[in-house]
């Protein structure tokens, strides 16, 4: 990279950026610029995250004492349902693809925009329409099915606003289909000259894998939720046992989407970590193609493990055996990634900047989350801990300890590219530390609680569980502080942060070659790629020569 030089002393904001190219409400709400759409997504999902987080805090408050002294059980049912629905469908699924992916993917491959900018904008509107439906259900009294909408509870026995909530999720699903479709076509057809498949940054590989999963799995959720709505609205009987329907079929169809959706939520996180670790270890990633192919393998195997959510639902022993085996197999590509990241750090020149702190936290927390997934894949253990706090702790280690931490890592990493200004390093490091401590304090006790037999989704519990629950609630307050801090200092940095310059971390990757913030068309001249990704060794040599 002959153009890379050590940053000069005085940096200035570039004159021509995507932020100052046009002004006014219309220039945002009718924009076709992937970077502005990414910011609109960022604001929306941050608000949804605050809402979902508030629900979580209320639940933890209720669980401080064994008695149900803050909420009635109905209210508590609504709280965990709305927490689940909002966090899964309106935060985790769109989080990295629609914000960071939308922002950097076209730049990473050297394109001026995504293949279908109008569809990209439409996806945000569809997402918000879906959110309106779901939030109208929440405002008009809430839903209490659990985020899984299990039949016949959701279709026959509940009197809440299931149809509006389900249709909202179905509509928001089309937003992720559109995002996935856009990413697939963009990655195939819009790469800059010289950007071959095996020179793609691994973030692009993970987005590509996740897009395939989105495109193939989300339509099945759509038709499933339509059938639930039809069943409630018109009393057709596809899932109704009184009419000969099979409620377990609902579980099959739901998890056929929702298990791959777990990978929709975690794969983009893998992509972020694969960018951050080489950058702050100043080393080429260990085993590039192994990491790339393990993303694809997770995408494929992710479709073949759904029934491990149903080991106690009366499926046959033999199919349970097969699904258990496949679930063990899917741990292999995840483990390949973890080993490759740690091998990348080995003998690297490691810098503990905030994105790297989050990335290291990710590796540890995701490993715990992944390994406890193997406990659950084992048929005997699964029967013991199904629907207990063990499961809750397991998927929060993957979703919060994994995905949310990776999202924060990526958000800090690309913040200078998005805004042109650095986040302040000391509070950022502090918040990473607080988040890590608070997270473990919240969720580690839940493993123990679950193993001792405390079931999920109850607001009262026997007094002997109180100590661990108090620990967990205390952890949740610490975690809330850690997660709220970035909102303040990042907003602060918009005005007062140091000006970042094009490439503050001296990272490889085309997105760092353009100005920060980038111009509307990303590059003033179409780049031509002549090197592999993560070529940090020769970058260091050249800097030494130039410097």
């Amino acid at each position: 990279m002959s153009t890379a030089t050590v940053a000069p002393a005085a940096l200035e904001m570039p004159a021509d950026t995507y932020l100052n190219s046009s002004f006014g409400i219309k220039s945002w709400f009718l924009t076709k610029d992937h970077k502005r759409i990414a910011l609109m997504y960022l604001v929306s999902i941050s608000l949804f995250f605050l809402f979902g987080g508030t629900m979580a805090v209320l639940m933890r408050l209720e669980l401080l004492t064994p008695a149900g002294d803050l909420f009635q059980s109905d209210t508590y049912n609504k709280l965990f349902t709305m927490h689940g629905i909002v966090m899964v469908f309106f935060f985790l699924v769109p989080s990295i693809p629609a914000t960071l992916g939308n922002f950097v993917l076209p730049m990473m491959i050297g394109a001026r925009d995504l293949a279908f900018p109008k569809i990209n904008l439409a996806s945000w509107y569809i997402f918000m329409i879906g959110a309106c439906f779901t939030f109208s259900a929440i405002i008009s009294g809430g839903v209490d099915t659990g985020w899984t909408f299990y039949t016949p509870l959701s279709t026959q026995y509940l009197n809440t606003h299931v149809i509006a909530a389900a249709l909202g999720i179905m509509i928001a699903g089309f937003a992720s289909i559109f995002t996935g479709l856009n990413f697939i076509v963009t990655t195939h057809r819009m790469r800059a000259p010289g950007m071959t498949w095996f020179r793609l940054p691994l973030f692009v590989w993970s987005q590509y894998a996740v897009s395939i999963v989105m495109v193939l799995a989300t339509p099945v959720l759509a038709i499933t939720l339509i059938l639930v709505a039809l069943e409630r609205g018109f009393h057709i009987g596809i899932f109704n046992p009184q009419l000969g329907g099979d409620p377990v079929l609902f579980q099959h169809m739901f998890w056929f989407y929702s298990h791959p959706a777990v990978y929709i939520m975690i794969l983009p996180g893998f992509g972020v970590i694969s960018e951050v670790i080489p950058c702050f270890s100043r080393k080429r990633i260990f085993g590039y193609s192994a990491v790339a192919f393990s993303s694809m393998a997770i995408g494929v195997f992710g479709f073949l493990v759904w029934a491990h959510h149903m080991f106690v639902a009366g499926i046959s022993t033999y199919s349970a055996l097969v699904f258990s085996l496949l679930t063990f197999i899917i741990a292999i590509p995840s483990a390949i990634k973890v080993f490759n990241w740690t091998a990348t750090m080995y003998k690297g020149s490691i810098h503990f900047d905030t994105p790297m702190l989050y990335a290291i936290a990710f590796i540890g927390l995701f490993t715990i989350g992944g390994l406890t997934g193997l406990f659950l894949a084992a048929l005997g253990v699964d029967v013991h801990v199904t629907a207990t706090y063990f499961v809750v702790a397991h998927f929060h280690y993957v979703m919060v300890g994994g995905m949310l931490v990776a999202y924060l890592s990526g958000l800090h990493f690309w913040w200078p590219k998005i805004t042109g200004r650095m986040y302040p390093e000391p509070p950022a490091k502090l918040s990473a530390l607080i988040t890590f401590i608070g997270f473990n304090l919240t969720f580690f006790p839940q493993f123990v609680l679950g193993y001792m037999g405390m079931p999920r989704r109850y607001h009262v519990y026997p007094p002997e569980f109180q100590v661990l629950n108090v620990l967990s609630t205390a952890g949740a307050s610490v975690l809330a502080v850690g997660l709220l801090m970035p909102m303040f200092y990042m907003l602060w940095s918009l005005k007062y942060g140091e000006i970042a310059g094009n490439n503050p971390y001296r990272a490889t990757g085309l997105e760092w070659q353009t100005t920060s913030p980038p111009p509307t068309h990303n590059f003033h001249e179409t780049p031509i790629v002549t090197r592999d990704a993560y070529d940090y060794e020769s970058l260091t040599e050249e800097v030494e020569v130039v410097g």
Binding site: M1, G110, V185, R189, L216, I238, G244, M253
Partner: protein, 240 residues
């Protein structure tokens, strides 16, 4: 990574007015939008796939109910509709061809013909739905498979089988209803395409919209080609 760059003006000289800014050439633009359309059709296959899976499972579980319920559907209307839909695919293919050779009047003619055939299909479907309503074959409170069947001299289903036929009709309405919804959306797009063709928006070097819509229309047609035998024909044998 980038040691040199392509001069910007080299890419931007004589850009056609139809070429949107993120692409370099019209060929790339066409290629990209067709690829996108195929990916979209894959999502549609998965969408209907859920219904086909449910059909498969219940047909195996409740075979006698599926046989008797399937035999109760008037085969003639379904067959006519299949013919209508295949004809509409032909007119759609002709429309794409007309666009390719730049015959604007023929393009409009064939698009209008496709639209009319689509409406004929939907009207016949509506008539079939009405018949189901009269026969009390719509799932819900009024569902009664054996309603007036004995009076008409038709085979009366035993009580357990009769209640299981409700599953067949649930699937019948869900599958044909989703298909009809796709037809209605398609008809809406067709009206817009006819208007824009009239305004001359699809010259021979830029008719990808027409071609992509053709792909969609043929896809909806193919879904029916699967629905017709599964719902009307495949169980049509005497009850043993």
């Amino acid at each position: 990574m980038s040691d040199s760059t392509v001069a910007a003006d080299q890419l931007q000289h004589h850009r056609e007015p139809e070429l949107v800014e993120q692409f370099d050439t019209l060929e790339q633009q066409k290629d990209v939008s067709q690829f996108g359309m195929w990916v979209f059709l894959v999502t549609e296959i998965m969408f209907f796939g859920g219904l086909f899976a449910a059909y498969l499972i219940y047909r195996n579980l409740y075979n006698p109910a599926f046989v008797i319920a399937s035999s109760s559907i008037a085969i003639s209307w379904g067959a006519i509709n299949t013919g209508v839909l295949i004809c509409s695919s032909l007119t759609m293919a002709m429309a794409v061809h007309s666009a390719a050779v730049g015959a604007r009047k023929l393009l409009i003619f064939f698009l209008v013909a496709t639209l009319i055939l689509g409406f004929v299909f939907l009207s016949i479907k509506g008539k079939e739905y009405y018949d189901k309503w009269v026969e009390h074959h719509v799932p819900g409170a009024n569902f009664d498979f054996n309603y007036e069947r004995a009076e008409k001299g038709e085979v009366v289903a035993p009580p357990d089988v009769a209640s299981q036929t409700s599953i067949f009709f649930s699937l019948y309405f869900a599958m044909t209803g989703m298909h009809a919804l796709h037809m209605i959306i398609g008809a809406g797009i067709l009206i817009a395409l006819i208007w824009k063709s009239y305004r001359g928006a699809y010259p021979p070097h830029h008719y990808t919209m027409i071609e992509n819509f053709g792909l969609y229309w043929h896809f909806v047609d193919i879904i029916w080609i699967f629905l017709f035998p599964l719902l009307y024909l495949v169980s049509r044998s005497p009850v043993h």
